[in-house]
């Protein structure tokens, strides 16, 4: 199998090094002349200096017979263009590194199904570690006040109540409610707190423990 790697940064270099030992024919294309020279020695002369976004560079690298092109530069727009040109030249498999996870949608719309995002992968690992209900610091305000976000789960003691019925620590207040559909509301007398709501709360640093107990409940905090 002939694999072309566009981008000789850290990802491209280590990818190339892994492939070097196997049965594949492999070529790394790196735009920067100094970086290309640096990794060319380490990758046993499999690095070509050039801009993989230029069709003539890809043609020179033998894209017509490539089985797979991996676009792994640090710029999503460059990765998209490399994949588009590769597919236009008939490469059967293309895959892209996506640095900004929200950009994956565009790659999919363009028919580039295989995208890899380190940010997304790490984020999903982190989210699995978090309890369903948690309190996330949003920002520090002045004079010891803080803004935190609390997402209500079904076990929260305040679900089904109005904000006014909730006993909060001193100098704490629910500033904003964003429902599970993403619609923001200012809490009013007729607002009912619902599981899935995200509450943006102003509180004091020293009151965060009490706040957590009030909104999340004693047994459902960070320890679950």
């Amino acid at each position: 199998m002939y694999v072309i790697i566009a981008g000789g940064g850290k990802v491209g270099y280590y990818l190339g090094r892994e492939l070097l030992g196997g049965d594949h024919e492999m070529l790394v294309i790196e735009r920067s002349a100094s970086r290309a020279a640096e990794i060319n020695d380490l990758l046993e002369g499999t690095v070509q200096q050039g801009d993989a976004c230029e069709a003539s560079v890809l043609d020179g690298a033998g894209i017509a017979r490539a089985d797979l092109v991996a676009a792994v530069t640090g710029d999503d727009e460059d990765n998209l263009v490399v994949c588009e040109i590769a597919r236009y030249r008939g490469v059967p498999r293309v895959l892209a590194r996506v640095n900004n996870p929200t950009n994956a949608v565009l790659f999919q719309k363009r028919g580039i199904e295989t995208t890899v995002s380190a940010t997304e992968a790490i984020l999903s690992q982190i989210e699995q570690e978090l309890p369903v209900t948690s309190m996330v610091p949003v920002m520090q305000l002045h004079q010891g006040l803080e803004l935190v976000e609390v997402r209500l789960s079904e076990t929260s003691p305040v679900v089904g109540r109005t904000p006014r019925e909730v006993l909060l620590p001193p100098e704490s207040l629910i500033a904003l409610i964003v429902d599970s559909g993403g619609v923001p509301r200012v809490p009013g007398a007729d607002t009912t707190l619902t599981a899935g709501d995200a509450l943006v709360v102003v509180t004091r640093a020293e009151s965060k423990g009490m706040l957590q107990e009030a909104l999340i409940g004693g047994a459902h905090g960070f320890d679950t």
Binding site: C53, E54, A55, S56, D75, D76, E77, D78, L80, V81, E84, I85, Y88, T102, N103, V105, L106, K109, R110
Partner: protein, 131 residues
């Protein structure tokens, strides 16, 4: 998208003709290129960000023009406009003529200042044919 000389000239002209225009650039200093009489909107932001495009009104736009210095940035933003926001008329400036030709096959209208410039100059030289 891109308020350089070309972007500013296009925006000013469309505005003069009575169209509703939003100019997007990363650098607010670039808006100095617009005439004092410019009546359109100026938005600071990265056109490769779907949220920025949406705030700039991409969903309601009839046309989108990408004229930054980067061919790939122009391509990325143009496809966002077309694929995500359904803009009908999308023009992507592409300096690299080879790339421009491929982009043209991928659903965009492209314009290459490089090819157009070369052709214009050749036309001024007696005895030379088109490139």
């Amino acid at each position: 998208m891109g308020c350089g000389r070309t972007g500013a000239a296009i925006a000013a002209s469309l505005d003069r003709d009575g169209h509703s225009v939003t100019v997007l650039d990363l650098n607010s200093g670039q808006f100095r290129r617009l005439p004092d009489a410019f009546g359109g909107r100026m938005a600071v932001g990265n056109g490769m960000d779907a949220e920025v495009l949406e705030r700039a009104g991409a969903r309601e736009a009839d046309a989108f023009v990408a004229v930054t210095q980067g061919d790939n940035r122009n391509y990325f933003a143009s496809q966002l406009a077309r694929e995500i926001f359904g803009v009908q008329n999308v023009v992507c400036r592409t300096k690299d003529p080879e790339r421009g030709e491929i982009f043209g096959h991928l659903g965009l209208q492209t314009y290459s200042p490089t090819s157009a410039g070369a052709e214009a100059i050749l036309a001024m030289l007696p005895g030379s044919g088109p490139a």
